[in-house]
């Protein structure tokens, strides 16, 4: 019954989206003005109805209603409740429903609160939003109905991929989706602005909170995803340039560029066509990412998400949405008036440089991700890996980071290097000193790693320079946001470079009672014992790691899930202020045949890493997101204040008129 209710709600939401699209489009002409009034209320109701449909699916999963096909395929009655609920979006249909629901709610929110732009632009924006949603509703209803029944209902469900049974993963996809949806709103704003040729500071200010919000979620999503890959896959790496990781990185790069160009448009009314273009590109990248992940067109460690038929459908959606937006861009961008001019040495120039470099990195990642596909079209299968991605993207990232030291200090429109040179000198000196210190005293490392280690402290100092000579109490919140986010980049960069420079790894086969050394740690295998969980059994090592007086017990496991049967290695980590100890229990080393080994004397493979400073990678990611949150709060506060002032002004005028 609940499943049918959900399906009905989904159909209703789709119909409302269609109405929203038609009314919004007709309202652009003079004859459809009567319809203008319905667009905003319809958008609100559409969001609520979509949320109802999603709620129904969550209910089916929480009750493990096995007569619903999706539940039977992806859940199991023995799973802990949190994973039952997370299972709602841990599969294709549910994640698409989550996407369209969040999009509907975001659209409802825009319809309720956004009143800065001319009404026609807003209606075009909401129509664009409905158009995108309609595609997803169509996809759900035609090709992947989440509420389909199974008759007869099976006795038990098929479980969930044990790799996915992890708290990090329960919240990783929704975080990314929130990011994607934020970009879809930015996309709708860009389309609305193109339709009415109304690209200006007001458009940028209306779009900016959505871009900021999307960017925060994408940053968190990528950071969490990277940490998840780090400790769940048990390979000790934190970024693999895997197609799925690239798929989440590309929208982030585009959103970062968009965020900065939005700032230029809002403050200086420059970079008009470019900002609109980035709005389209950022959302395209999230759809391209989803397409690449879901279609299985590329081989990836995330192979659980694959289904070629759905890939075709997403591709069709992609072609219609993005192709349509790009046609609109080509037709309209020529008539969008040129923005304000600026001098080569100015805040704008630094931001343009940032945009160009980010776009270049985006192109590098996109080309590298698609290259195997291109060669496959001519019959050759290849894999493009870190030897391409790392240096190629660093080639553009390093100059960008260097400019980031100077850019925030420059004035809008026109400036002189001489004016800021005193504040640039300090970070530059720190960079040089760090380069010499790490180059001379550090272990042998590649030039790229050295550049990262040297730039990071310089960047950290530079990120605080915009605070010099300002009243810290009266500094606007968005400036604090920028400072924190740029500092986060420095922190993260240091962690990445440290991982490459200082990590030590040890592979050892040890008997119970023996110890091995890795970095400053001495690790003793005290025992191996079986343990059991709610739906798995495991062999757990009892490791005692000691460094000086610091002794810690670690229990990495070889875990076997029984529904479905699958073995994974569960790593155990000890985090210290100066790094992380990473332990993985491998296979039992079987003695050669014919050799008699007394029981308890067999050896166990241990993989051990000591990774100095590596947690800074994710701490930096969290700081970057925190910077975004500060900036967003600052913008929203300014916005509320302005609304209040306008309302007061209107009330006064009314009184005076009486």
């Amino acid at each position: 019954m609940i499943a049918e209710l959900g399906l009905a709600a989904l159909w209703l939401a789709a119909a409302l989206a269609a109405l929203q699209l038609i009314a919004g489009a007709l309202a652009q002409g003079s004859r459809g003005e009567a319809l203008a009034g319905v667009v905003r209320p319809v958008a609100v109701v559409q969001g609520l109805v979509a949320a109802l449909a999603f709620g129904c699916l969550v209910w089916c999963f929480s009750q493990t209603d096995l007569s619903v096909k999706l539940v039977a395929e992806n859940s199991h009655s023995a799973k802990p409740m949190i994973y039952k609920i997370a299972g709602t979006w841990g599969n294709h249909e549910g994640s698409m429903l989550l996407w369209v629901t969040v999009m509907g709610i975001a659209g409802a929110f825009v319809a309720l609160v956004e009143r800065r732009l001319p009404e026609k632009t807003m209606l075009a924006t909401l129509a664009g939003q409905a158009f995108v949603s309609l595609g997803f509703y169509g996809f759900l209803l035609i090709a992947s109905n989440p509420f389909a029944r199974l008759d007869p209902a099976p006795e038990e469900g098929n479980g969930l991929n044990p790799l996915l049974q992890d708290p990090g993963l329960a919240f990783h996809p929704p975080t990314l989706y929130l990011g994607y949806v934020g970009l879809s709103i930015a996309f709708s704003f860009a389309v609305g602005a193109l339709v009415t040729r109304d690209v200006g500071p007001a458009f940028a200010r209306a779009m900016r909170p959505w871009v900021l919000g999307a960017w925060i979620f994408l940053t968190l999503g990528i950071t969490a995803g990277s940490y998840w890959a780090y400790y769940v896959l048990g390979w000790g790496g934190w970024w693999f340039w895997d197609p799925v990781e690239n798929a989440s990185l590309m929208p982030w790069l585009a959103a970062t560029a968009l965020l900065h160009s939005c700032g230029v448009l809002a403050a200086r009314n420059a970079l008009r066509a470019w900002t609109v273009m980035l709005g389209v590109v950022a959302f395209s990248m999230s759809m391209v990412g989803t397409f690449l992940v879901r279609s299985g067109i590329l081989t990836s460690v995330h192979a659980f998400a694959v289904d070629p038929r759905r890939g075709t459908f997403i591709l069709a959606l992609l072609a219609i949405n993005i192709g349509g937006a790009l046609v609109l861009f080509a037709l309209r961008a020529g008539t969008v008036a040129e923005g304000e001019r600026f001098e080569p040495v100015s805040r704008e120039s630094a931001l343009v440089f940032n945009n160009v470099m980010l776009s270049a990195i985006l192109a590098i990642v996109l080309i590298g991700t698609l290259y195997p596909l291109v060669t496959e079209a001519v019959g050759v299968r290849v894999s493009v890996g870190p030897p391409y991605f790392t240096p190629a993207s660093a080639m553009f990232a390093l100059p960008m980071l260097a400019v980031m030291m100077v850019g925030p200090l420059l004035r809008w429109r026109r400036d002189r290097i001489g004016r800021v040179s005193a504040r640039v000198l300090a970070p530059a000196a720190v960079t040089v000193v760090a380069a010499v210190a790490f180059g001379v005293a550090g272990p042998a490392m590649g030039w790229l790693t050295l550049a990262g280690l040297a730039l990071a402290p310089g960047l950290a100092v530079a990120s605080a320079m915009p605070l010099v000579g300002r009243n810290l109490l009266r500094l606007p919140l968005p400036v604090w946001g920028m400072v924190v986010a740029h500092f986060g980049i420095a922190v993260s960069l240091f962690g990445m470079a440290s991982d490459a420079a200082f990590s030590v790894q040890k592979l050892a086969a040890v008997r119970v009672g023996e110890s091995v050394a890795v970095g400053p740690w001495r690790i003793t295998l005290a025992g191996v014992a079986p343990v059991a969980g709610p739906n798995w059994t495991a062999l757990a090592a009892d490791l005692r790691a000691a460094r000086g007086g610091d002794v810690v017990a670690l229990g990495p496991q070889q875990r076997t899930f029984w529904a479905p049967v699958q073995t994974t290695a569960v790593s155990a980590l000890a985090t210290r202020w100066d790094g992380q100890l990473y332990t993985v229990l491998g296979e039992e080393v079987r003695p050669a045949e014919g050799v008699d080994t007394p029981p308890g004397q067999s050896r166990w493979q241990l993989r051990l890493w000591w990774k100095p400073w590596v947690p800074m990678i994710w701490a930096g990611g969290a700081l970057i997101a925190l910077g975004g949150v500060l900036a967003l709060l600052g913008r929203l506060r300014a916005d509320l204040k302005r609304r209040y002032v306008t309302a007061r002004g209107a009330a006064r005028r009314e009184e005076a008129g009486r």
């Binding site: 273009m277 990836s300 698609l370």
Partner: protein, 176 residues
Amino acid sequence: MKRWTLWLPLALFGGFCAVVVVGLVVPKSTDIPSKMIGQPLPGFNLPAAVGERPGLAAGNFTGGKPRLLNIFASWCIPCAAEAPVLDDLARQGVEIDGIAIRDHRADLETFLAQHGNPYARLGADDVSAVQLAIGSSGVPETFVIDGHGVIRYQHIGDIRPEEVPLMLGKLREAGE
């Protein structure tokens, strides 16, 4: 801004769509005849990639028995997918030598510990010199070399489980 440049993004997007449509529609085929087939292996002598296995030279392939030469890397994801199949082949008595492309020793050791080490010899090709000389353009690729050091078959891409009989057949042909 010139008018035509505004259409450029659309053109690029069209190119992207064309590529992925081809990727989705064209059935995946991995047999392409290589120019190197029937040629003797070019001369090379690679240092050992990991401590536990000797390095690899062209002379190692003239022992009279056909061998597989697997080109791989620890950073390549299809290679990880292929590893169990290679292990399976090794268990069936096939002699496999490996060349690790642009790899680091520590990464490689991790990879071998995780996915198994079916290789009798393992050379490190840090600049892809040998890879290019024997006509391989990517990883993974597997060559069938007969007992006189002549390349008899080139398999591009990972060996799928269903392709094991094919590889065994090629080895048998090379041994005749």
